[in-house]
Symmetry: C2
Subunit: 191 residues, 2 copies
């Protein structure tokens, strides 16, 4: 998605530790109109795939998942990182290591929100080492849910997550794939 590549070039900042900061539109300040445009592109990519639900993970996946869900006419379920007092009943649970935060979170989805009849699209803001996405895939398999594929805003193509998940036979569509980045320049993979 050329508009996203341009936006990353214009507004993104490369921080030490291979972190691409896009807080200006994707995960701190939300450019809602642009998130809806990204969502429209996700809906186009997965048109006719029989998706009835989007599964994402808090926090930064929620906004892009909403953008896609609006265009797809489906609900969103977001996996929660900390079991809270307002989660009751049986849950699917998995551990996720965060690249950004350098910690392990227990990620849960209440069983009532996933069904064997579901065909879900996984959505997240970033795909780097793929830990969050693998966590969601694990939850889907535990739930017996059919996975139509994954839609990612920004994939870091120089980290292994995307290749590993495609090698699992799962379709992964990333709106922008960063091939390499330095303080001064960001190169995208041709798609």
């Amino acid at each position: 998605m050329k508009a996203l590549e341009e936006k990353i070039r214009e507004e993104g900042k490369v921080l030490p530790g291979n972190i691409l900061k896009v807080g200006n539109f994707l995960n701190h300040r939300l450019d809602v109109q642009f998130l809806c445009e990204m969502g429209k592109e996700i809906a186009r990519l997965y048109e006719g795939c029989g998706i009835n639900k989007i599964l994402t993970i808090e926090t930064s996946g929620i906004a892009i998942a909403m953008g896609a869900a609006i265009h797809m006419g489906v609900p969103v379920v977001f996996a929660k990182k900390n079991k809270s007092k307002n989660v009751s009943g049986e849950v699917y649970c998995t551990d996720v290591v965060s690249f950004t935060h350098k910690n392990v979170s227990q990620v849960i989805v209440e069983k009532q929100f996933l069904s064997e009849k579901d065909r879900v699209l996984l959505v997240d803001d970033f795909l780097a080492n793929g830990m969050a996405l693998k966590g969601l895939i694990g939850i889907c398999r535990e739930a017996g849910v059919d996975i139509a594929g994954a839609a990612i805003a920004i994939e870091k193509g120089f980290q292994a997550g995307g290749d590993e998940i495609r090698a699992m036979g799962i379709r992964v569509e990333s709106l922008a794939i960063v091939e390499s980045m330095t303080d001064d320049s960001i190169t995208f993979r041709e798609q």
Copy 2:
């Protein structure tokens, strides 16, 4: 908002500890179409108020803030609960005690995302003891930001937060105000 009251009656569950669970549409599974309807009502309530930005707090405020932002044509900034590796630069910071989670979070907003020229609408899913909203108000005051008011999906009218914040001279619009609730019934305040 009658449609929200009906939805809470139909899909909400009262859990021990005065917790109203609405995970089926508001904060675990997201009924995106309904969130957009709630957002439309928020936009109507604050029409002509000169709002140029919505400020909310992760996690559960993001979806309803998106719903409102779509109808208001403004961006969303969400306060983050844990300072993460992709937050850089100067931040506004406050402590928030969570009613649901029974813990204290340090909540931050990067200074670059709030300006003295802003006129913001505060948005959140719940208003109970008002700790989250007071945290956002504190950040706005530190930033010199003008507060147009607050828009809440569900206020627990039997807890003190709403009254306290209105007593501070801040306009608070709650789409549904729960006056009392038991295992069997939920009563709403007439608005």
